[in-house]
Amino acid sequence: MKYAYYLGCWIPARVNQYDLSTRVVAKKLGIELVDLEGAGCCGTVLVRSVNFKTNLVMSARILALAKNMGLDLLVLCNGCYESLMEAENLVKTNENLREQVNTILKSTDNLVYEGDEKIKHLIQVLYDDIGLERLRDEIKRPLDGLRVAVHYGCHILRPSSRLKFDNAENPKILDELVEITGAKSIYWPLKLWCCGSPMLAVDRNLSLSIAGMKLKSAKEAGADCIVTICPSCQIQFDTLQPEISKVTGEQYNMPVLLYPQLLGLALGFTPEEVGLHLNKISAESLLKLQSKA
C-alpha cells in the first residue's frame, strides 16, 4: 500500500505531531508514504475567498504532481481534502475551466491535468483500505472507558454532494475508528459545528468564541478529550485553547488529540512516540485510563 503523501502548510508549520503520529501508525500498518516534492499550498478556502481561480489552479497543480508519481494522494488536512476534491470536480465537469487550468500549468511546470487522481484523507485509508477488522486485531493497549468527543471538521463532510466522504448529517467513519481503540464516542450537541478557524484571520474574537462554544459543549457532555483529523481544528481547540479562555472567561482543560495519536496509543506506542508532548493541553489524565496489558 503506497501513497503520495501531501502535508500542506499548517502541519509542518504548527502541528508536526500530526505528521509524526501518522508516520508511526502508517509504518506499523504497512502503509508506505512517499513525500510529494515541489508542492506548495493547495490554495484553501482562504485563497478562494479572494480569487477562486487561484485556488483551483494551485490544487490542480498538486493533483497533477501526484498523478505523475502514479500514486493515489493521501492528505491529512481537511482543508487540503476539500480544496483538492473541489478542484477535481471542476476540472472534470467544466471543460472551459479545465482548459484555463492547463494553459497555466503548462506554462509553469509543463504539467497537464485532466482529472482522475484519487484523493484520500488519512482516515479513509484507515477505514477503507486497512479496515476496522485489521485495526481491531492490532490494538495492544485499549483505551477502555475513555469518553471522546469526535470532531470531524467541516471540510471533510460538506458539501457531501461534492466531497463524497460520509453522510454529512450523521457521519460514522471517525466514530467507528475511535471506538475501535476501546474508547467511546459520546453524543455532544455541537459535534458537527464548525470550529471557527477559517475566519480567524478576519475576526479573531468571533472565531475563538465559536471554538469556545464547542469546547463548552464537549465538556458539558462529559468528554475526556476531543479527537480531530484536521490541523486547523487542532490548532483552534488545542493551541489556542488558553486564548479562547481569555475571550470567553471559561476554563476548559480539554485535551485535544489527533486521531493517529489516539490510534497510536492504542496500538502500543508511547505518548512520546505519537508526539503527545507537542500538544498544548496536557493529555496526561487520559493515559491513566489506559490498561497496561
Binding site: L7, C9, W10, P12, A13, R14, N16, D19, L20, R23, D35, L36, E37, G38, A39, G40, C41, T44, L46, V47, R48, S49, V50, N51, F52, K53, T54, V57, M58, R61, L90, N94, L97, I104, S107, T108, D109, C154, H155, L157, R158, P159, S160, A168, E169, L192, W193, C194, G196, S197, P198, M199, A201, V202, D203, L206, S207, I210, G275, L278
Partner: protein
C-alpha cells in the same frame, strides 16, 4: 451590464447581479431561493451573517451593499447552508462569488491580505519557522518537501491574484 436606477433614488439596483453570480464558475442559483431560512438556521455565525438575507439581496440586486459589507467575510465556509438547502441554491458559493467580486474592487480584510502576501513570498499560506524545522529534526521527521516558490508565484500572477491583492478600494 446596465444599472437600473430607480427614482426617487433610495438605492442603486443592479438587476443583473443574480445572473452574474449564477454565471460565475462557482455557481449558486439565487433565483431558486424560496426564503425558507434553512441555511440561516444552521449557520454558526447567523447572529451576524444570515445566508438567506444575502441571497435575497442578490435577488434584489443590492450589489454595492453586498460588496461593501463585512458580513460576507464572516462566513466560516462550513458549507452547512449549502448542504441543507432544499433548493440547491448553494449560498456558500454565492458568498464566495461575492467575496471574489469585492476583492476585485479592492475590498479584502487585512488578515486575508497578509495571508495572500505570504503565499506570494513563500508558496505557503503560513511561514514555516526554523524552530519547526529544528523540531522536525529532533523528532526524526524528514525535511519538509521543497516548494517551487517561483512556479507558485506564476500561478498567482496568471490568475490575477497578485494584481487583486495590490488593489485597494479608493
Amino acid at each position: 451590464m446596465s444599472k437600473t436606477v430607480i427614482s426617487p433614488r433610495l438605492v442603486e439596483i443592479d438587476s443583473n447581479l443574480k445572473f452574474e453570480i449564477a454565471n460565475m464558475e462557482l455557481g449558486g442559483k439565487a433565483f431558486w431561493c424560496i426564503q425558507c431560512g434553512m441555511c440561516t438556521s444552521g449557520c454558526p455565525v447567523a447572529e451576524f451573517l444570515k445566508p438567506h438575507r444575502i441571497v435575497k439581496m442578490v435577488m434584489l440586486g443590492l450589489k454595492d451593499q453586498l460588496i461593501g459589507c463585512k458580513e460576507i467575510w464572516l462566513c466560516t465556509t462550513c458549507f452547512t447552508c449549502s448542504e441543507r438547502c432544499p433548493q440547491e441554491v448553494d449560498p456558500a458559493n454565492i458568498i464566495f462569488s461575492l467575496k471574489n467580486m469585492a476583492a476585485e474592487q479592492g475590498v479584502i480584510p487585512k488578515g486575508l491580505r497578509d495571508i495572500g502576501k505570504n503565499l506570494a513570498k513563500t508558496g505557503r499560506v503560513i511561514k514555516i519557522g526554523t524552530v519547526r524545522e529544528r523540531e522536525r529534526m529532533k523528532l526524526g521527521l524528514p525535511k519538509i518537501p521543497q516548494v517551487h516558490v517561483e512556479k507558485n508565484r506564476k500561478i498567482l500572477e496568471e490568475t490575477s491574484f497578485i494584481k487583486t491583492l495590490e488593489r485597494v478600494k479608493r
